[in-house]
Amino acid sequence: MMLECKDLTKWYGGKKAVDDLTLYLEKGKIYGLLGENGSGKTTWMKMVAGLTKPSRGEILYEGEKLNYRHRAKIAYMATEPFFYSFMNIGDVGEYYEDFFEDFDGKRYAELIVKLGLSREMKVKDLSSGMGAKLKLAATLSRKAELVLLDEPLNGIDYKAREEIINLVLEEADENNTFVISTHLLEEVESFVEYGIFIRDGKLLEKVNLESERMKTGRSLADIYLDIM
């Protein structure tokens, strides 16, 4: 098992953002993390990425208690812009190069061009769409074992969405695991293997979509409406 989350709970003030969540992820799969805004998807991702500390419960990465060394193997893309404001796009690549051994500078350079960005652009001058593309370019230029993408398609135009999905599909193989949170169900329907449904910080169900289509003929949207 690549990732084990056992009885995870995270309190924010008096509210449980994640509530007694137990979830196992395998290597070589693409998971869709699905739920309303504020259902705990981001909090869960941030806990796995090591940014947020669980109030209770534990996270094991390949059987080992999650620690800072695992960040070399886990790539997390947050929803918000987070690059240092003094950086330009070239600097962002240099930063990743400096800290992540799995970062592929050549690929980053290609992606930048493909997504219509250029190295000289200042991070703080980017539009939200361009900022989203930059985050993806940096994150997907890593050959990480576990890739956590929080709302990667938000604020991205249709053409770039296709680009980005193609990038994920090229990268995702038997050696890595992708978790993609989104509420654009139609966009991910055909390639997500498991839907992880979360509401109020609780795991409702983990569904193998292909077997569900086989057994009950329900689409992802059908299942979503039934469960939520």
Binding site: K29, I165, S190, F191, V192, E193, E210, R213, S219
Partner: protein, 123 residues
């Protein structure tokens, strides 16, 4: 490709590939896309892509040379068989639906004939 999201994706991709074999877009002996390329082409994950080739291989539509890739089967009659099989499938579905609407064989034949004539009128 537009999917019917209530049906297993891998079956729909297999169907599409079979159609392309019938249409001659994929010729016997031709190298098929790698799993990676297939995944991107059809917007599926690589596990599904691998499953598609596994199933197609079992059905005899293609074969894999280790380390080289997957190729369209060169067996005699394969294309004809696929064509017939797919036609059978379509017909069976069509006939079932029509039977549900209360048409018998004869009436269905008439319907088909009339439909053709309608088309000619249009043209």
């Amino acid at each position: 490709m537009d999917y019917n999201t209530g049906m297993p994706i891998y079956l729909q991709v297999i169907n599409d590939l079979k159609k392309r074999i019938v249409k001659g877009e994929l010729k016997p002996g031709m190298k098929m896309p790698s799993s990676r390329d297939l995944a991107v082409m059809y917007k599926v994950n690589q596990n599904t892509a691998a499953r598609i080739y596994r199933e197609m291989e079992m059905a005899g539509y293609c074969y894999t040379k280790r380390g080289i890739g997957t190729f369209v089967s060169e067996e005699d009659n394969m294309v004809e068989d696929i064509k017939k099989e797919m036609a059978d499938q379509l017909l069976s579905g069509f006939l079932h639906e029509m039977a549900d609407l209360g048409f018998d064989r004869e009436e269905i034949m008439t319907q088909i004939r009339n439909y053709k004539e309608d088309e000619r009128d249009d043209a």
